[in-house]
Symmetry: C2
Subunit: 215 residues, 2 copies
């Protein structure tokens, strides 16, 4: 199984690394990190870089595609959307974490389908004919699977691992990465956070991401 | 607050990227990725690289240190352990994810203290006089905080964010990364996984990491 994880300028690292850490352990997978060119790609922190191993042009037929959240207008946006249009018909799974679903939507892949995203990007999905599902962590519609923000990619990938390799294998991966979450607080969803916490999170998102984003 | 996240050959990416994604959002933090030299550092998959931004020598006085799991004997082990011995007295927090605690133990930092690690590395801790805590996800002993395997770094970092910036801020970060985990299975701890799943996970760990590891 050829897995292509997209990297683009200003992407959110955990969107990619969470699913990668689950999927790369499966036997027989070939994981690559794709962008418009190979080499280090700077994340949204402006400090951390991850290395792209292949270009879009070098990756014409991935079996599984994963798109993370990143700013909507960057040097790779047009090429990414074109590539998604080309490769999607041949994939077994087309997936996204966080605002990555907006790029699937821009490629016409989500029209008429339920989908999710980071809460800040959810309203954008409807602009492309998708049906936003704000209360679901993973939304699957045929071979298309979208997930909520950032950390939701781990849940997405475990679900995919179960579909691809079977439940016993997926459970073994969960044990290998000790994914037995015990968050010290319970404010990970809009429906659970207090109003002051929601206000602070929205203000911080506006400060960190002043440009329109898909994340 | 100067945060130094260690990268070394064969480290596990999620050990670093989980906590990074929580801590880097806090106001006033200066996050850097340190190794024996700057540039791309290859993870345990042999595919993904993350970029080291600074050397140990350039980082004499971090406020918060985080050590991820990686193989015990690498080109940086001696320099890392020496650096930990030097910088630990001046830190506000000395922390680890997964087998990273074994490097703290090798530096003499865990002697006589409770600590945790990935389940595969827990027995090693006792060799250095630490008191393994297999059933705790985060173990804090003064300014030293160790966590369980791989994904536990997210819980560690949220706890730290609460200590450093207060609970409201930590809850806002949890909402920003939508950390509302809903694992599709419940096998993330040895006490929860079935015997066949435990056997498979142990066999896979032995296949992936044939050398002695701290992870």
């Amino acid at each position: 199984m050829r897995i292509a994880m997209v990297l683009g300028p200003g992407f959110t690292a955990l969107d990619v690394v969470g699913p990668y850490e689950v999927l790369r352990i499966m036997p027989g997978v070939d994981v690559r990190f794709v962008s418009n060119e190979t080499g280090p790609v700077l994340t949204d922190s402006g400090v951390l870089t991850l290395g792209a191993t292949h270009t879009f042009a070098d990756t014409p037929s991935p079996d599984l595609v994963l798109v993370p959240g990143m700013p909507l207008q960057t040097s790779i946006t047009e090429e990414l959307v074109d590539w998604l249009r080309r490769v999607h018909p041949g994939t077994s799974w087309t997936t996204s974490v966080c605002g990555g679903s907006v790029f699937l939507a821009m490629a016409g892949i989500l029209a008429g389908r339920p989908a999710t995203s980071h809460w800040i990007a959810l309203p954008l999905l409807a602009n492309y004919g998708a049906e936003p599902r704000p209360d679901e962590r993973i939304v699957h519609s045929g071979k298309i699977v979208t997930s909520a923000g950032v950390s939701a990619g781990i849940d997405l990938a475990l679900w995919l691992a179960g579909e691809v390799q079977g439940r016993e294998w997926a459970e073994a991966v969960q044990l290998m990465i000790e994914y037995d979450p015990r968050p010290p607080f319970d404010s990970g969803h809009m429906s659970k956070a207090s109003q002051p916490v929601r206000d602070l999170a929205m203000a911080e998102m506006a400060r960190l991401y002043p440009q329109p984003v898909a994340r």
